[in-house]
């Protein structure tokens, strides 16, 4: 099973996106969401991302991370490096729009053949989704 982590500058946004993604599959143990800086303001926290990744890896074989803006990307990268130092599991960030990417990834992660790479690629296909 491949896990998903939604990382947004807002904890509420992350939780909401997670809620939407869970319509496509996944459960409490395989889709997680974090957001907000260490004081609860707008931002992201490396420690929280790191903790969420470690929790997800208890129930999954690898994780695809969906991120929103700027520092969320850097904080996710830093957290991944720290978690990867203690595990062989694969963790990748998807270069995708966060909501659409999360939906695609959640659907793709339900496949028994899903890999971190296949789930990340599905998320990235969302870049081409046209709304109008």
């Amino acid at each position: 099973m491949i896990g998903l982590l939604i990382v947004s500058h807002s904890g509420q946004a992350a939780a909401g996106i997670r809620e939407i993604a869970m319509e496509m599959g996944g459960d409490e143990e395989t889709i997680a969401a974090v957001g907000g800086d260490p004081d609860g303001g707008i931002g992201t926290s490396i420690d929280e991302i790191q903790a969420a990744l470690s929790d997800l890896l208890e129930a999954t074989d690898g994780v695809v991370v969906l991120v929103d803006l700027g520092s969320a990307v850097m904080n996710a990268e830093t957290a991944i490096e720290m978690v990867e130092a203690d595990t062989d599991a694969e963790i990748e960030i998807a270069d995708a729009p966060i909501v659409e990417g999360a939906l695609n990834a959640a659907a793709s992660a339900t496949s028994p053949k899903a890999t971190v790479e296949s789930v990340r690629e599905s998320a990235e296909e969302a870049r081409d989704i046209s709304k109008l």
């Binding site: 800086d37 260490p38 707008i42 490396i46 700027g70 990268e77």
Partner: protein
Amino acid sequence: MDETRQREALLEAIENIADRIDEEREYLTELDSAIGDADHGANLNRGFKAVMEKLEAMDDDADVQEIAKTVGMTLVSEVGGAAGPLYGGSAMTASTELEDGITTESSVAFAEAFLEKLQDRGDARVGDKTMVDAITPAVHTYKKSIEQDDLPPLEALAKAVDAAERGVEFTVPIRASKGRASFLGWRSTGHQDPGATSTLFMLEEILAVAEQYLEGDTDVDAASPTIPDEEPEEE
């Protein structure tokens, strides 16, 4: 300079940086509110407050490498914005260069490792209107002054601070292509970059401490003179 004095100088530099960030918090926030999300001052200040608490609780026998690494890790955990992984992550990575203490050689290695990690993590180049615009010329100038021009570390550091200052000025007219400011497009021109500015403040504090510890000390142990602080100690 012996180990104890290196340690003393490093701690003093970090404390002065923390104080400077606290003093300049509102100014940094003002710069950031023009082109970013107005959190740079508050984020860095929160980070350095946590750093000071960590260092106060630290063992007296911690070496400079451990101190630099702790500063980096604390910034990574506490800052919350992009400055955390940029300053903190780079300091963590570069701290390994201080294994044998702070020497002229290890300070150059630290500076280079810091810059490499910073550019890699932020995926930013000179001209993107980021802290890279201040730190790149500073590190290059420091390295060149020591390795090619054979200047004593203190003079090299003073030249590096000058270079950083010009780098900060350079961020004013250019358009941002990284970070939140890039969403503004041409409207980001005419504003000084807050990240480059905080980098300069940190370098200035390092230079001030270096002056205090190295003044008149520059030709002692010419083969491997030590300096109290590695270049981009802006962790």
